[in-house]
Subunit: 127 residues, 4 copies
DNA sequence: GTGGTCTAGACCACG
DNA sequence: GTGGTCTAGACCACT
């Protein structure tokens, strides 16, 4: 289980951790009851204060994505969604993006182009 | 020119104002040199602290979307639709969509597909 | 609005604060949208670290009993329950106490006596 | 003698064990000098770390509810039903009820009334 | 070993 | 002024 944080990311660090772990759980990379890295271990690995990790884990518990067993650690809770749930989720994400685009006067093509550009930043520079 | 803010919106109030005005300018609703509402007038209308409006207008000036004429007020920039500004706006929208997708374990391809599907609901089946 | 904490209480301090504020809100002492004491102010008053107050307020927000307005402060949210809700609440509390008592082999009379004793600790010592 | 623990119970595991055994002893289910299950046996049965059972038994000894005979095991105290212990247990139950009531803005009188009402559902209306 | 609580103190964004 | 985030470091309870 690899978790990374980016200090240049505008999201608070603890939110970045929440998002990373959420993704791992939602996608089934972390199956139910799988142990998350311990607070201290992750703090050392990411060179962060344990409190920051703790805050992230507390948030995950609040989101019902993880649970704590005293003296044992933190564990993943929810099962990955089935195909129908996943399809609905994808549609939701797309819908939110479209609303955001529309609100800002951005066309669909511009949005898709920008997404492509952001995720395939470098083409072949050679030749 | 109608500006609204939503206290439930997670964006800071002043950012909401910036976004509203930016959109109006970028989309041509506010033509070059058109006067923006005065700080005091807008503060009364939105029931906000004038400082908040000021902060938004300062940000608009910083973004080169407006300019101040002492004693006269704030005006939309006369420059041609600011391409750089528009590009930044598009990039922002794309970035938000990508964060949302990543958060939910949705891949870029799935996101783009869903956007396309949502906006081209009907497809010509003929040759 | 008076809030007190007792270091001898086994509950964590932040939980004590949550309980005090919750009670004030639930009982209508703090009407909807009434401002809670600011984090710093309460920290000074209770001689606690602001982080501890913050943790309590975050929990209140999680419980949907308070909300935060950036730069303005924290405010009470829910309205006091009506009579029927209140009666149901009281019945629930009593039911939980009875279950607890039964589980521990404590009779109803013993429970009531102990409650009376705990809340009227000193009778007239004179005469 | 059946002992169960519930991982969802907010009480620490070892406290749950103490409470179960305490109740059995206080209520006379475990007569004086009756042997408690061995640490290892109970650990296997409850799928717990033997250290946890040990901690519970140590607490029981501290509470003067059990005693250890080296090489033989742990036994219920022979003393007459421990009045002091029982009183402490009753006080604990009452204290929990009071915290719960206070948390929910329920007064002591309301709590006692509700308890009485719940346990004396029918009342003689005759003379 | 695990997570939970608390203190002290810093810096930031917001209104 | 407000709350939010983060660091550093301490002590505690639990397994």
């Amino acid at each position: 289980m690899i978790i990374t944080v980016d200090p240049h990311d505008p999201r608070p660090i603890y939110v970045q951790i929440v998002d990373e772990v959420r993704r791992a759980i939602v996608m089934g990379i972390l199956p139910p009851d799988a142990p998350l890295p311990s607070v201290r271990q992750l703090a050392v690995q990411l060179r962060l204060n344990p409190n920051t990790i703790s805050q992230a884990y507390r948030e995950l518990e609040r989101l019902d994505l993880a649970y704590v067993r005293r003296g044992q650690g933190t564990f993943a809770r929810s099962a990955p969604p089935n195909d129908a749930e996943r399809a609905a989720l994808i549609t939701d994400v797309a819908a939110r993006a479209l609303i955001d685009a529309h609100r800002n006067g951005v066309t669909v093509d511009e949005l898709v182009d920008a997404i492509r550009r952001a995720t395939q930043p470098r083409q072949d520079l050679a030749s």
